[in-house]
Symmetry: C2
C-alpha cells in the first residue's frame, strides 16, 4: 500500500505512532495531523510524526486514508462530520478501544457512499501524548478490524493493508465479539488495577514494590478516556466481571477452606496461562 | 559493616543477588552458599554470587551472618536447625515474604543465646534462579526488618547495617504490621493477577496486550512458594480482601448505575495513587 495523503485525527501516543510508522515505512507521501491543541500538534510535527496540521474538514478532503485516534466517545461524531467533506475514495478508520457503539452511531448517520471500517490496534498504554509515540509500536502487535454486514470486501482489504503496512498483524472480528474480547483482556483488568490502586492507603505507599507497580500500572491511564470506554462497553464489561467473579470465588473458597492443595492448583493454572503469554 | 563469612541459604534470585551485592560492596570476605540443588549452586558460583558451597551445618558454623532465602514454609525449621551449630556471635536473618508465622515458630524453638531477626527485602519478582540475580537489586529498595519484644537493640542494629550495606533502605515494623501491609501491597495483588490470568480463555490469548501482561505478570510466580505465603498469611490476606471488596463495590455500583461521573472520579483517584508511585 502507498498513500498520497494520510490524515491522523488525534496525534497522541497512537496517532503519533501511526505517523512515525507511516514515515518510516514510506506508506504516505504526506501526513496531516488534526487536533484541538496546537501545542500537541507542534510537538508531533517536531517529532516527525506529521508534516502539517489542518482543520478536520480540510485534512479529510485530501486524505486517501483518515484514521481517528481520539477518545471513543467522540470518534463517531468526528467520523460523521468528516464524511461530509471527504471523497468516496477516502477510507475512514479509527483506533478506538470499543467498536459496537461507534459502528452503530456511524452506520446510522453516515452519508451514502462513504466508507468507514472500525479498527483497534492493541498497542495502547497508560502513557499519552506524541512524545511517547514510537515508529515500531505496531510491530508484532495485533490490530483488530471489525467489519459489519454493510462493509465491502474492498474496504476490509484496504483497512487490513493499512495496518499491515504499519507493521501490525490483523485479526478480523465482529464488533460485538471484539467488545466482549477486550472486556476480558483489557477493560476488566483495567478496572481491577484501578481498584487495587485505590485500596492502597497512603501509609503503605513506600512498601509498594515491583509487583504492585506492574499489577496497577494501567490505572495511570487517562480517567476521561477510560470512562468513555466503560460507558460504551458496559454490557460486555458486566459479563466479563461475572466471569471474573466465578474465577475469584474458586480462589476465595480455597483460602477460606485453608485448602492449600486446591490453591496451589489454581495458582499453577494461572501461571500456565501467564507463562504462555511470554514476558 | 565488614563480615568475614556470609552464608546464604537458598541461592535463587534473592539469595544470588545478596551474594553479588555483598561481593560488589566488599561486604564479606567469603560467601558460602547452601542449597538442595547442586546445579543451582554451581550456576551461582559461576556467576560469582557465592565462593563455595557447604552443607547447612558447616556453612552456618563459620558464618558472621547467615541469611535464609528459602520458601517461607521451610525458613523456621532451617533456622532452628542452623541454631544448633552456629555461634552466639552469628546473626541469623531471612528474606521471607511473611514474618509472624516464621518468628512465632523460631522464637518457640530457638536455643537460648542465638539471635534471629526477621527481614523482608521488597525486591522479589516472578523470576527465579541465580541467573536472574542482580548486584543492584537492593539499591533504593525497601527492606522491612521486624524485631519482636525479644529482639535486642544490638541485633536490630546489625540487621539494619547488613541490609543497608547491600544498598537497601530499611524500615522497622512489627511482624504482624508487616504481614498486614504486604497482604495489601503484594499478596492480594498477586491473587488478583492470578484470578485475571485464570479467567483468560485460550481463544483470547492472542489479544492479551501490554495492559494484560503488566496486570498479570506476577501470576507467573512459583505456585509452591506463593501457596506457602498465602498459608502463612491467610488472616491478613482475608482482611485485605475485605478492604478490596469495599473498594470494588464502589466501582461496581458506578458501573451498575451507569453513573459515569462517579466512575470518572474513582478512576481519577486511582490514577492519583498510581502516579504517586512513579513508573
Amino acid at each position: 500500500m502507498r498513500l498520497g495523503t494520510l490524515t491522523i485525527v488525534g496525534v497522541g501516543l497512537i496517532g503519533g505512532s501511526i505517523g512515525l510508522a507511516a514515515k518510516k515505512k514510506g506508506l504516505a507521501e504526506t501526513v496531516i495531523g488534526v487536533g484541538r491543541q496546537q501545542a500537541t500538534l507542534e510537538r508531533a510535527r517536531t517529532l516527525g510524526a506529521i508534516d502539517v496540521c489542518l482543520d478536520l474538514a480540510g485534512a479529510v478532503r485530501q486524505a486517501d486514508v483518515a484514521v481517528f485516534c481520539t477518545p471513543v466517545d467522540v470518534i463517531a461524531s468526528q467520523v460523521v462530520a468528516a464524511a461530509k467533506t471527504c471523497s468516496t475514495r477516502t477510507l475512514l478508520t479509527d483506533a478506538g478501544s470499543t467498536k459496537e457503539a461507534i459502528l452503530c452511531d456511524v452506520e446510522r448517520l453516515m452519508p451514502q457512499g462513504i466508507t468507514f471500517v472500525g479498527s483497534h490496534p492493541l498497542a495502547g498504554s497508560e502513557k499519552h501524548g506524541p512524545e511517547h509515540a514510537d515508529a515500531n509500536l505496531f510491530e508484532n502487535r495485533v490490530t483488530i478490524v471489525t467489519p459489519t454486514e454493510r462493509t465491502s470486501e474492498a474496504a476490509i482489504e484496504r483497512t487490513v493493508a493499512f495496518w499491515t503496512a504499519l507493521g501490525s498483524r490483523v485479526k478480523i472480528m465482529h464488533p460485538s465479539a471484539h467488545d466482549q474480547a477486550v472486556a476480558v483482556t483489557s477493560h476488566v483488568p483495567h478496572l481491577m488495577a484501578a481498584v487495587l490502586a485505590s485500596a492502597l492507603p497512603d501509609t503503605l505507599r513506600d512498601l509498594a514494590a515491583g509487583g504492585f507497580r506492574d499489577t496497577t500500572r494501567v490505572a495511570a491511564g487517562d480517567p476521561a478516556i477510560w470512562t468513555g470506554i466503560f460507558e460504551q462497553n458496559c454490557g460486555a464489561v458486566a459479563q466479563a466481571l461475572e466471569r471474573l467473579d466465578a474465577e475469584m470465588s474458586r480462589f476465595r473458597q480455597a483460602l477460606a477452606n485453608r485448602d492449600w492443595s486446591a490453591l496451589r492448583q489454581l495458582l499453577t493454572q494461572a501461571k500456565k496461562v501467564r507463562d504462555a503469554l511470554g514476558s
